[in-house]
């Protein structure tokens, strides 16, 4: 297995993470390092433990044993503040589109004028300029997911986690989301995205981590993992077989 260590920049390291429930092993990651400049896609069949791993990396869940470290430090409030996450289904506050962004910007202590400018920039970035005053709950799922990404970006994170953000979206909305994610990546935000869609992995990933049965079974540069994986099960998965 090849390491993905990037000598400079943010690095996340998971060590000996294990979660078991009812005698069943849900997560068992001996060692994982994430930190490459391009988007890292965590790929695998449903139930592989991808979302669970993401939540551990973001500090939403505590593993039974093991630790997560970011830049060599434990995952405390300060370190987590450098992260942001977008979930499978967007959770919008019951206020306007602009209001959702304002909520986050206020917490960062920005003055009113600054917030207004920043909101305008973000909305333009996501193609939602005309929707500022609209109720966020009245957006379509695709638009709401775009807003969720914008809201996450408003916190100016160093790493953005995304948990299957387009699994419920049509191709048009999916394309808009992927474009937004790539733009963020070129601006320097580290992307760590979970998906079970192999095509999406091909489109977005610079590096790929493949998970099966709670374990990391393969990782490396995208071209290598996707076209010529070392692991036989991964090969069968990429060929379209159902993996149990």
């Amino acid at each position: 297995m090849r390491d993905l260590v990037e000598e400079s920049g943010l690095m996340i390291e998971a060590q000996g993470l294990r979660i078991a429930r009812g005698g069943q092993r849900l997560l068992d990651v001996a060692h994982l390092r994430l930190g490459g400049p391009g988007p890292t896609v965590i790929l695998g069949p449903n139930g592989a433990g991808k979302s669970l791993l993401l939540r551990c990396l973001h500090g939403l869940i505590g593993a039974d044993v093991g630790a997560v470290r970011q830049n060599g430090r434990p995952l405390d409030g300060d370190e987590r503040a450098r992260q942001a996450m977008v979930f499978q289904r967007p959770v919008m506050l019951r206020r306007s589109v602009a209001g959702n962004l304002d909520f986050v910007l206020r917490r960062r202590g920005l003055a009113r004028r600054q917030r207004q400018d920043r909101i305008a920039d973000l909305l333009a970035e996501g193609g939602l300029q005309s929707r500022g005053g609209q109720s966020a709950r009245s957006l379509s799922v695709g638009e709401a997911q775009r807003l969720a990404i914008l809201r996450a970006l408003a916190t100016e994170p160093e790493v953005l986690f995304l948990d299957e953000p387009t699994s419920a979206l049509d191709p048009g909305a999916t394309q808009a989301i992927e474009a937004l994610v790539l733009r963020a990546s070129t601006r320097g935000v580290r992307i760590v995205m979970v998906t079970h869609d192999i095509g999406q992995a091909r489109r977005l990933a610079a590096d790929v981590v493949v998970m099966m049965g709670g374990q990391v079974v393969e990782q490396g540069p995208a071209a290598q993992v996707l076209d010529d994986p070392a692991n036989g099960a991964v090969r069968r998965f990429l060929a379209g077989e159902l993996i149990f």
């Binding site: 939540r55 942001a84 959770v91 506050l93 500022g132 916190t155």
Partner: protein, 237 residues
């Protein structure tokens, strides 16, 4: 002897003539119940939110208790508050018995569990939906509470209206701690009780109709304000 219908008509005429005594009674009813609901909300909403979001030993038992207290009989509340405020009671020195303040206190006791229990349910449901996202955005559990309360404002308003409905309609509590004293602590429900005990059933019913009308008016007003604020939000699009 008049027929019942004729009596009711006579009663309504009296009422619609804007009898100043009646206006005083209506004003006092509204004052007591609106203030009671306000204080009950100030106590009950944080309490309900804390129950929803907090994790501490005995939490589940407390939830069951608060839910059960929604069914407190008004007359029992009246009796308990009377014993507290009586000159022979622990708070007798405050001389609050037979005043509107005592009535407000009794109704606060009655209404707070309702608002707390309904708030808990609303906040708990929203918390299930929002918790991960809020934590991701860096909010502590405590900081999440105001967000949940604001986002649940529509359902919480219904909880407040439920509390108001309970307060404006009860007689058992206010009659014991208020004493139904003319011009001092007589409200709509105690006036209805009095007229019934005098056998003036038509007048009592007419007063009852006025009470229902007021309850409808309050709810309609709230609904109107809700519709207006929604329209304002949409108009910015």
């Amino acid at each position: 002897m008049q027929s019942f219908a004729q009596e009711m008509q006579a009663a309504f005429t009296l009422i619609l003539a804007g009898d100043s005594e009646l206006l005083g009674i209506v004003a006092l009813s509204l004052r007591v119940s609106l203030l009671a609901v306000l204080f009950a909300a100030l106590i009950g909403m944080p309490l309900g939110a804390a129950l929803a979001v907090g994790r501490f030993p005995g939490r589940r038992a407390l939830v069951v208790l608060v839910n059960a207290l929604m069914g407190l009989p008004p007359v029992v509340v009246g009796l308990l508050v009377y014993l507290m405020l009586s000159r022979s009671g622990p708070l007798g020195v405050l001389q609050l018995l037979y005043t509107p303040t005592a009535m407000i206190i009794a109704q606060v006791v009655l209404v707070t569990p309702i608002i707390a229990a309904l708030t808990r349910q609303v906040v708990e449901m929203l918390d299930a939906e929002y918790a991960e996202q809020m934590r991701s955005l860096g909010l502590s559990r405590l900081a999440t509470v105001p967000v949940l309360l604001w986002d649940g404002r529509v359902a919480l308003l219904t909880a407040v209206l439920a509390g108001f409905g309970r307060a404006i309609a009860e007689v058992g509590a206010v009659i014991i701690v208020g004493g139904n004293i003319n011009h001092v602590t007589r409200v709509m429900t105690t006036a209805i009780a009095l007229e019934t005990s005098k056998g003036n059933l038509a007048l009592a019913l007419a007063l009852g109709a006025v009470l229902i009308g007021i309850a409808i008016a309050v709810n309609a007003l709230v609904s109107l304000l809700g519709a207006r604020s929604r329209a304002e939000v949409m108009a910015h699009a």
